[in-house]
Symmetry: C2
DNA sequence: GTATCTGCAAAACATTTGCAATTCT
DNA sequence: AGAATTGCAAATGTTTTGCAGATAC
Protein backbone atom coordinates (compact mmCIF):
# COMPACT_ATOMS: atom_id res chain seq x y z
CA UNK A 1 0.00 0.00 0.00
CA UNK A 2 1.05 3.58 -0.64
CA UNK A 3 1.73 5.47 2.60
CA UNK A 4 -0.24 8.69 2.94
CA UNK A 5 0.33 10.02 6.47
CA UNK A 6 3.42 12.05 7.31
CA UNK A 7 4.57 9.44 9.80
CA UNK A 8 4.17 6.54 7.41
CA UNK A 9 5.90 8.47 4.60
CA UNK A 10 8.80 9.31 6.89
CA UNK A 11 9.25 5.65 7.69
CA UNK A 12 8.80 4.64 4.05
CA UNK A 13 11.37 7.08 2.69
CA UNK A 14 13.89 6.06 5.35
CA UNK A 15 13.40 2.41 4.41
CA UNK A 16 14.31 3.32 0.84
CA UNK A 17 17.50 5.07 1.91
CA UNK A 18 16.17 8.60 1.49
CA UNK A 19 16.39 11.11 4.30
CA UNK A 20 12.87 12.31 5.05
CA UNK A 21 13.21 16.09 4.89
CA UNK A 22 10.08 18.21 5.14
CA UNK A 23 10.16 18.99 1.42
CA UNK A 24 10.54 15.34 0.48
CA UNK A 25 7.72 14.24 2.74
CA UNK A 26 5.39 16.92 1.37
CA UNK A 27 6.23 16.09 -2.24
CA UNK A 28 5.66 12.39 -1.68
CA UNK A 29 2.46 13.12 0.24
CA UNK A 30 1.19 15.19 -2.65
CA UNK A 31 1.83 12.37 -5.10
CA UNK A 32 0.33 9.76 -2.79
CA UNK A 33 -2.88 11.64 -2.10
CA UNK A 34 -3.41 13.25 -5.51
CA UNK A 35 -3.80 10.49 -8.03
CA UNK A 36 -3.79 13.09 -10.79
CA UNK A 37 -0.31 12.23 -12.11
CA UNK A 38 0.87 15.80 -11.64
CA UNK A 39 3.60 17.60 -13.55
CA UNK A 40 6.53 19.27 -11.81
CA UNK A 41 4.80 22.59 -12.12
CA UNK A 42 1.55 21.35 -10.62
CA UNK A 43 3.40 19.93 -7.63
CA UNK A 44 5.41 23.11 -7.23
CA UNK A 45 2.41 25.45 -7.41
CA UNK A 46 0.36 23.32 -5.03
CA UNK A 47 3.07 23.07 -2.38
CA UNK A 48 4.53 26.57 -2.67
CA UNK A 49 1.48 27.92 -0.86
CA UNK A 50 2.45 25.98 2.23
CA UNK A 51 6.23 25.76 1.85
CA UNK A 52 6.79 29.37 0.93
CA UNK A 53 10.52 29.01 0.31
CA UNK A 54 10.15 25.93 -1.89
CA UNK A 55 12.03 26.11 -5.17
CA UNK A 56 11.37 24.27 -8.39
CA UNK A 57 14.92 22.99 -8.27
CA UNK A 58 14.08 21.10 -5.10
CA UNK A 59 11.00 19.62 -6.73
CA UNK A 60 13.13 18.48 -9.68
CA UNK A 61 15.87 17.13 -7.41
CA UNK A 62 13.41 15.28 -5.25
CA UNK A 63 11.48 13.71 -8.10
CA UNK A 64 14.73 12.57 -9.74
CA UNK A 65 15.89 11.07 -6.46
CA UNK A 66 12.57 9.30 -5.92
CA UNK A 67 12.62 7.93 -9.46
CA UNK A 68 16.18 6.67 -9.09
CA UNK A 69 15.33 4.90 -5.86
CA UNK A 70 12.19 3.40 -7.38
CA UNK A 71 9.95 5.24 -4.97
CA UNK A 72 7.83 6.72 -7.75
CA UNK A 73 7.75 6.36 -11.52
CA UNK A 74 7.79 8.96 -14.27
CA UNK A 75 5.28 8.74 -17.05
CA UNK A 76 5.38 10.20 -20.53
CA UNK A 77 2.21 10.86 -22.47
CA UNK A 78 2.67 14.35 -23.77
CA UNK A 79 5.73 16.01 -25.19
CA UNK A 80 7.46 18.51 -22.93
CA UNK A 81 5.79 17.45 -19.76
CA UNK A 82 6.83 14.65 -17.49
CA UNK A 83 4.26 13.41 -15.00
CA UNK A 84 4.82 11.42 -11.84
CA UNK A 85 2.99 8.57 -10.15
CA UNK A 86 3.36 7.09 -6.67
CA UNK A 87 1.43 4.02 -7.74
CA UNK A 88 4.07 1.50 -8.78
CA UNK A 89 1.73 -1.35 -9.62
CA UNK A 90 1.52 -2.12 -13.33
CA UNK A 91 -1.24 -0.10 -14.96
CA UNK A 92 -1.86 2.01 -18.03
CA UNK A 93 -2.61 5.71 -18.48
CA UNK A 94 -5.26 7.33 -20.60
CA UNK A 95 -4.99 11.02 -21.44
CA UNK A 96 -8.04 12.93 -22.57
CA UNK A 97 -7.06 15.35 -25.30
CA UNK A 98 -10.02 17.58 -24.42
CA UNK A 99 -9.93 18.00 -20.63
CA UNK A 100 -6.24 16.98 -20.35
CA UNK A 101 -7.06 14.68 -17.44
CA UNK A 102 -5.03 11.49 -17.03
CA UNK A 103 -6.94 8.35 -16.02
CA UNK A 104 -5.55 5.00 -14.89
CA UNK A 105 -6.63 1.82 -16.55
CA UNK A 106 -6.13 -1.76 -15.62
CA UNK A 107 -3.51 -3.34 -17.79
CA UNK A 108 -0.32 -5.23 -17.07
CA UNK A 109 2.08 -5.33 -20.00
CA UNK A 110 4.54 -7.36 -17.92
CA UNK A 111 2.18 -10.32 -18.05
CA UNK A 112 2.44 -10.54 -21.83
CA UNK A 113 5.00 -12.79 -23.45
CA UNK A 114 6.90 -10.73 -26.03
CA UNK A 115 9.00 -13.07 -28.12
CA UNK A 116 11.11 -10.47 -29.87
CA UNK A 117 12.44 -9.32 -26.49
CA UNK A 118 13.87 -12.66 -25.40
CA UNK A 119 17.28 -12.13 -23.79
CA UNK A 120 16.48 -8.46 -23.20
CA UNK A 121 16.57 -7.22 -19.61
CA UNK A 122 13.40 -5.33 -18.85
CA UNK A 123 13.33 -2.52 -16.34
CA UNK A 124 10.05 -0.70 -17.04
CA UNK A 125 6.77 -1.41 -18.77
CA UNK A 126 4.54 1.42 -19.99
CA UNK A 127 1.23 1.57 -21.81
CA UNK A 128 -0.69 4.70 -22.63
CA UNK A 129 -3.68 5.64 -24.70
CA UNK A 130 -4.90 8.99 -25.96
CA UNK A 131 -8.44 9.97 -26.86
CA UNK A 132 -11.55 11.57 -25.43
CA UNK A 133 -12.88 10.55 -22.04
CA UNK A 134 -16.44 9.53 -21.21
CA UNK A 135 -17.29 12.89 -19.65
CA UNK A 136 -15.98 15.01 -22.52
CA UNK A 137 -17.60 12.67 -24.99
CA UNK A 138 -21.05 13.43 -23.52
CA UNK A 139 -20.62 17.20 -23.77
CA UNK B 1 3.26 -0.85 -47.34
CA UNK B 2 5.43 2.15 -46.60
CA UNK B 3 6.58 3.93 -49.79
CA UNK B 4 10.33 4.37 -50.04
CA UNK B 5 11.11 5.71 -53.51
CA UNK B 6 10.84 9.40 -54.28
CA UNK B 7 8.14 8.76 -56.86
CA UNK B 8 6.05 6.60 -54.56
CA UNK B 9 6.41 9.09 -51.69
CA UNK B 10 5.36 11.94 -53.96
CA UNK B 11 2.22 10.05 -54.85
CA UNK B 12 1.61 8.98 -51.26
CA UNK B 13 1.91 12.50 -49.81
CA UNK B 14 -0.39 13.90 -52.51
CA UNK B 15 -2.97 11.23 -51.69
CA UNK B 16 -2.91 12.45 -48.09
CA UNK B 17 -3.49 16.05 -49.10
CA UNK B 18 0.11 17.19 -48.58
CA UNK B 19 2.01 18.97 -51.31
CA UNK B 20 5.15 16.96 -52.01
CA UNK B 21 7.91 19.55 -51.75
CA UNK B 22 11.52 18.39 -51.93
CA UNK B 23 11.99 18.86 -48.17
CA UNK B 24 8.86 16.91 -47.34
CA UNK B 25 9.80 14.05 -49.65
CA UNK B 26 13.31 13.84 -48.18
CA UNK B 27 12.05 13.91 -44.61
CA UNK B 28 9.51 11.19 -45.30
CA UNK B 29 12.10 9.17 -47.18
CA UNK B 30 14.46 9.38 -44.23
CA UNK B 31 11.77 8.09 -41.88
CA UNK B 32 10.70 5.36 -44.27
CA UNK B 33 14.18 4.00 -44.91
CA UNK B 34 15.69 4.51 -41.45
CA UNK B 35 13.69 2.46 -39.01
CA UNK B 36 15.67 4.00 -36.18
CA UNK B 37 12.81 6.18 -34.87
CA UNK B 38 14.91 9.31 -35.24
CA UNK B 39 14.61 12.53 -33.26
CA UNK B 40 14.15 15.91 -34.95
CA UNK B 41 17.83 16.59 -34.55
CA UNK B 42 18.90 13.30 -36.10
CA UNK B 43 16.70 13.95 -39.11
CA UNK B 44 17.98 17.50 -39.43
CA UNK B 45 21.65 16.58 -39.17
CA UNK B 46 21.30 13.70 -41.62
CA UNK B 47 19.49 15.75 -44.26
CA UNK B 48 21.32 19.04 -43.86
CA UNK B 49 24.33 17.52 -45.63
CA UNK B 50 22.27 17.15 -48.78
CA UNK B 51 19.75 19.97 -48.39
CA UNK B 52 22.21 22.62 -47.36
CA UNK B 53 19.62 25.33 -46.74
CA UNK B 54 17.38 23.08 -44.63
CA UNK B 55 16.29 24.59 -41.35
CA UNK B 56 15.18 22.86 -38.19
CA UNK B 57 11.96 24.86 -38.33
CA UNK B 58 11.08 23.12 -41.56
CA UNK B 59 11.79 19.74 -40.00
CA UNK B 60 9.50 20.65 -37.08
CA UNK B 61 6.81 22.02 -39.38
CA UNK B 62 6.91 18.99 -41.61
CA UNK B 63 6.82 16.44 -38.81
CA UNK B 64 3.87 18.26 -37.21
CA UNK B 65 2.06 18.32 -40.52
CA UNK B 66 2.72 14.62 -41.13
CA UNK B 67 1.53 13.74 -37.63
CA UNK B 68 -1.65 15.78 -38.04
CA UNK B 69 -2.44 14.10 -41.33
CA UNK B 70 -1.73 10.65 -39.88
CA UNK B 71 1.16 10.09 -42.23
CA UNK B 72 3.57 9.28 -39.39
CA UNK B 73 3.26 8.92 -35.62
CA UNK B 74 5.22 10.49 -32.81
CA UNK B 75 6.53 8.33 -30.03
CA UNK B 76 7.56 9.23 -26.50
CA UNK B 77 10.00 7.07 -24.57
CA UNK B 78 12.42 9.56 -23.15
CA UNK B 79 11.79 12.94 -21.63
CA UNK B 80 12.64 15.92 -23.80
CA UNK B 81 12.97 14.04 -27.03
CA UNK B 82 10.20 13.16 -29.41
CA UNK B 83 10.87 10.43 -31.94
CA UNK B 84 9.04 9.72 -35.15
CA UNK B 85 7.96 6.56 -36.94
CA UNK B 86 6.65 6.01 -40.47
CA UNK B 87 5.37 2.57 -39.49
CA UNK B 88 1.74 3.10 -38.52
CA UNK B 89 0.88 -0.52 -37.74
CA UNK B 90 0.35 -1.20 -34.04
CA UNK B 91 3.60 -2.19 -32.37
CA UNK B 92 5.61 -1.44 -29.27
CA UNK B 93 8.98 0.22 -28.71
CA UNK B 94 11.86 -0.93 -26.58
CA UNK B 95 14.58 1.54 -25.63
CA UNK B 96 17.95 0.26 -24.48
CA UNK B 97 19.20 2.47 -21.67
CA UNK B 98 22.80 1.52 -22.51
CA UNK B 99 23.13 1.94 -26.28
CA UNK B 100 20.07 4.22 -26.56
CA UNK B 101 18.80 2.25 -29.54
CA UNK B 102 15.05 1.88 -30.04
CA UNK B 103 13.76 -1.52 -31.16
CA UNK B 104 10.28 -2.45 -32.36
CA UNK B 105 8.40 -5.30 -30.80
CA UNK B 106 5.29 -7.07 -31.82
CA UNK B 107 2.40 -6.03 -29.65
CA UNK B 108 -1.03 -4.65 -30.38
CA UNK B 109 -2.64 -2.90 -27.45
CA UNK B 110 -5.71 -2.13 -29.55
CA UNK B 111 -6.60 -5.82 -29.53
CA UNK B 112 -6.99 -5.86 -25.76
CA UNK B 113 -10.35 -5.27 -24.16
CA UNK B 114 -9.93 -2.58 -21.49
CA UNK B 115 -13.08 -2.42 -19.43
CA UNK B 116 -12.35 0.79 -17.57
CA UNK B 117 -12.23 2.64 -20.89
CA UNK B 118 -15.73 1.74 -22.04
CA UNK B 119 -17.39 4.80 -23.57
CA UNK B 120 -14.01 6.45 -24.09
CA UNK B 121 -13.05 7.38 -27.65
CA UNK B 122 -9.62 6.05 -28.41
CA UNK B 123 -7.32 7.80 -30.85
CA UNK B 124 -3.87 6.32 -30.17
CA UNK B 125 -2.43 3.24 -28.50
CA UNK B 126 1.15 3.19 -27.24
CA UNK B 127 3.29 0.63 -25.46
CA UNK B 128 6.93 1.01 -24.57
CA UNK B 129 9.48 -0.83 -22.52
CA UNK B 130 12.86 0.23 -21.18
CA UNK B 131 15.77 -1.97 -20.28
CA UNK B 132 18.98 -3.40 -21.69
CA UNK B 133 19.03 -5.00 -25.12
CA UNK B 134 20.43 -8.41 -26.01
CA UNK B 135 23.63 -6.99 -27.47
CA UNK B 136 24.45 -4.71 -24.53
CA UNK B 137 23.56 -7.51 -22.15
CA UNK B 138 26.30 -9.69 -23.62
CA UNK B 139 29.00 -7.05 -23.24
C1' DG C 1 31.83 20.71 12.21
C1' DT C 2 31.16 18.13 8.36
C1' DA C 3 27.84 15.91 5.25
C1' DT C 4 23.76 16.75 3.02
C1' DC C 5 19.93 19.40 1.41
C1' DT C 6 17.85 23.53 -0.36
C1' DG C 7 17.13 27.23 -3.44
C1' DC C 8 18.59 31.17 -6.32
C1' DA C 9 20.38 32.57 -10.75
C1' DA C 10 22.15 31.30 -14.98
C1' DA C 11 22.70 27.91 -18.59
C1' DA C 12 21.23 24.44 -21.69
C1' DC C 13 18.01 22.28 -24.71
C1' DA C 14 13.88 21.30 -27.34
C1' DT C 15 10.16 23.44 -29.48
C1' DT C 16 7.25 27.41 -31.11
C1' DT C 17 6.31 31.84 -33.11
C1' DG C 18 6.67 36.03 -36.06
C1' DC C 19 7.87 37.41 -40.14
C1' DA C 20 10.41 38.12 -44.43
C1' DA C 21 12.27 35.78 -48.40
C1' DT C 22 11.60 32.16 -51.65
C1' DT C 23 9.20 29.00 -54.54
C1' DC C 24 5.41 27.12 -57.24
C1' DT C 25 1.62 27.48 -60.32
C1' DA D 1 0.44 37.90 -58.98
C1' DG D 2 -1.28 35.03 -55.19
C1' DA D 3 -0.92 31.28 -52.13
C1' DA D 4 1.80 28.08 -49.89
C1' DT D 5 6.36 26.84 -48.15
C1' DT D 6 10.75 27.67 -46.26
C1' DG D 7 14.03 29.40 -43.01
C1' DC D 8 16.12 32.88 -39.98
C1' DA D 9 16.05 35.03 -35.48
C1' DA D 10 13.87 35.63 -31.31
C1' DA D 11 10.81 33.89 -27.76
C1' DT D 12 9.04 30.29 -24.76
C1' DG D 13 9.02 26.53 -21.60
C1' DT D 14 11.12 22.75 -19.31
C1' DT D 15 14.93 20.78 -17.16
C1' DT D 16 19.86 21.01 -15.59
C1' DT D 17 23.93 22.98 -13.49
C1' DG D 18 26.94 25.76 -10.40
C1' DC D 19 27.30 27.40 -6.27
C1' DA D 20 26.32 29.71 -1.77
C1' DG D 21 23.69 29.54 2.27
C1' DA D 22 20.88 26.75 5.45
C1' DT D 23 20.00 22.56 7.95
C1' DA D 24 20.75 18.24 10.21
C1' DC D 25 23.27 14.80 12.87
Amino acid sequence: MIPTTAEAIKFFLSSKGVKPSLQRIKIYEYLATNKSHPTVDEIYVALAAELITLSKTTVYNTLSLFTEKNIISSILIEENETRYDANLTHHGHFKCVKCQKVYDFNFDLSKRQIDSLNDFIIAEYHAYIKGVCKKCNKT
